[in-house]
């Protein structure tokens, strides 16, 4: 069999190794681009970490843009990536309810979504951050404070933690009672003026923007107020229970 190369003309022998220069040049451009992107993101992160209260009734969101950031078909540089450790639970408005119970409250409470929405509404504008690195800025979440729901039945001396149960039957996570009673811990049904989509936790999810997304339980069906701490789904895999954004234990290992 002939060699494929025996016919190479003399011109090839005087050719110059340009390919490796182009290759290295492209890698250099890519590395510089990656570095600049990272730097820009780091600078952005330094300036928008704190949630801001947004007055209700005048949420400055254009309705045509109301779904930006949460709409699954919209490709933006900042969009939610949706994760579910189990199946995405179906939502039946006629059957859905939220249950509040546990040794740390003085009674049980079962609320329909309309009953829940009757609590004082609040909105929080904050950056949503996933511990894997992505984030979506300027999310306006609308809902009710966890503490208002807890106070509807009243807590007792055993109220140290609140465990949030997802409707998928698998996922749970918890906050301390102090965290759950803070201004920023809300049970929300709306993002940027539009109802939560199914992948986003429809009809109800927890939002606590001080912490990474895995603390923000989706499809919330039950709150249990108790004296002992439950270790959440990802925390059983080794993730931090106190998943504060930017804390060394969550951002660097």
């Amino acid at each position: 069999m002939d060699s494929p190369f025996e016919h190479a003309p003399d011109e090839l022998l005087s050719a110059r190794p340009i390919g490796r220069r182009i290759f290295l040049g492209m890698l250099g451009v890519g590395a510089a681009g990656l570095a600049f992107t990272e730097l820009g993101l780091r600078n952005d992160a330094a300036g928008d970490g704190l949630p801001q209260a947004v007055p209700l009734g005048s949420t400055p969101i254009d309705s045509s843009e109301s779904s930006i950031g949460q709409h699954p078909n919209l490709v933006t540089t900042e969009r939610f990536r949706y994760y579910s450790v189990g199946y995405i639970p179906a939502y039946d408005p006629k059957k859905w309810n939220l249950r509040l119970d546990g040794e740390g409250v003085k009674g049980n409470l079962v609320l329909t979504l309309d009953q829940l929405k009757a609590f004082p509404n609040v909105a929080i504008k904050a950056t949503f951050r996933c511990v894997t690195g992505w984030r979506v800025r300027d999310c306006v979440w609308r809902g009710v404070r966890v503490r208002d729901v807890v106070d509807a039945v009243g807590q007792n001396g055993k109220a140290k933690f609140v465990t949030f149960y997802s409707g998928d039957g698998v996922y749970t996570d918890s906050l301390t009672i102090a965290q759950a009673r803070s201004d920023d811990a809300i049970l929300c049904w709306e993002l940027n003026g539009a109802p939560l989509i199914r992948e986003q936790g429809m009809p109800l999810r927890l939002i606590y923007p001080d912490m990474y997304g895995y603390k923000n339980v989706k499809w919330v069906r039950r709150l249990e107020v108790k004296s002992g701490r439950d270790v959440g789904f990802w925390e059983q895999q080794g993730w931090e229970i106190e998943a504060y954004i930017g804390s060394p234990s969550t951002s660097s290992g």
Partner: protein
């Protein structure tokens, strides 16, 4: 005539298989839920994506070393001749307005060389950004997000390169004969002379009529 050695063909097809597995599984990880038919199998898709990336490394790394069986291929892709630059300058001019013919090309034309170099650079970029994404939980969020962004941009770079490569190899009649080279190793001599004139052997010159040779009786009869 022989164009690709067995080693080159094996590396090409293993690389192609790994890239397709990565692109398809990557789509399964990237597509939004409403358009994602494998949303419920995300863990399996992620496993396929990671395994395919390891397979890609297992193919590429042994092929990079000095003395690797496809070193000649790297050489042919890497070295650009004056004819390559002329070819690149003229190929952008529509054929009907081109005053001069395209210069003869070597085993690979300049476009194939650029495509190969860009694919190689993108592959390195995919490996780096993908590793950061994979281990993003252990690194800074901003670096993981930047890598995520560039991983997607690299996808937008490489998909047209692969699509163009496939159109030329499978669809266009003028370039389709090259396909048998990467499948069987050989291309037709007339195709090699037409598209890769600097590499293919020139046609044997027609023998000069020899007056001493008596005409055949047939010729004489025909004349």
């Amino acid at each position: 005539m022989p164009r690709f050695s067995v080693n080159e063909r094996v590396v090409h097809w293993l690389f192609a298989a790994a890239i397709f597995a990565l692109l398809i599984s990557g789509l399964g990880l990237w597509l939004p839920p409403a358009a994602n038919p494998v949303l419920d199998h995300r863990d399996a898709v992620r496993t396929v994506h990671l395994d395919a990336s390891l397979a890609l490394l297992a193919i590429v790394i042994p092929a990079l070393g000095r003395g690797a069986p496809i070193n000649r291929l790297w050489h042919d892709v890497e070295f650009f001749t004056r004819g390559d630059w002329l070819w690149l300058r003229r190929i952008v001019i529509p054929k009907r307005w081109r005053r001069r013919p395209l210069p003869p090309q070597g085993r690979f034309n300049a476009g194939q060389k650029l495509n190969s170099v860009a694919t190689a650079a993108a592959t390195v970029g995919f490996v780096i950004t993908g590793t950061v994404m994979w281990q993003g939980e252990r690194l800074s969020p901003s670096l993981a997000l930047a890598s995520d962004t560039w991983h997607i941009w690299l996808m937008w770079l490489i998909v047209p390169l692969i699509a163009g490569h496939m159109v030329l190899a499978l669809v266009l009649p003028s370039t389709r004969p090259a396909l048998r080279g990467i499948v069987f190793g050989n291309v037709r001599l007339d195709f090699a002379r037409r598209r890769h004139g600097a590499w293919a052997p020139a046609a044997e010159p027609e023998p000069e009529p020899d007056s001493a040779t008596p005409e055949s009786p047939t010729d004489g009869t025909a004349a």
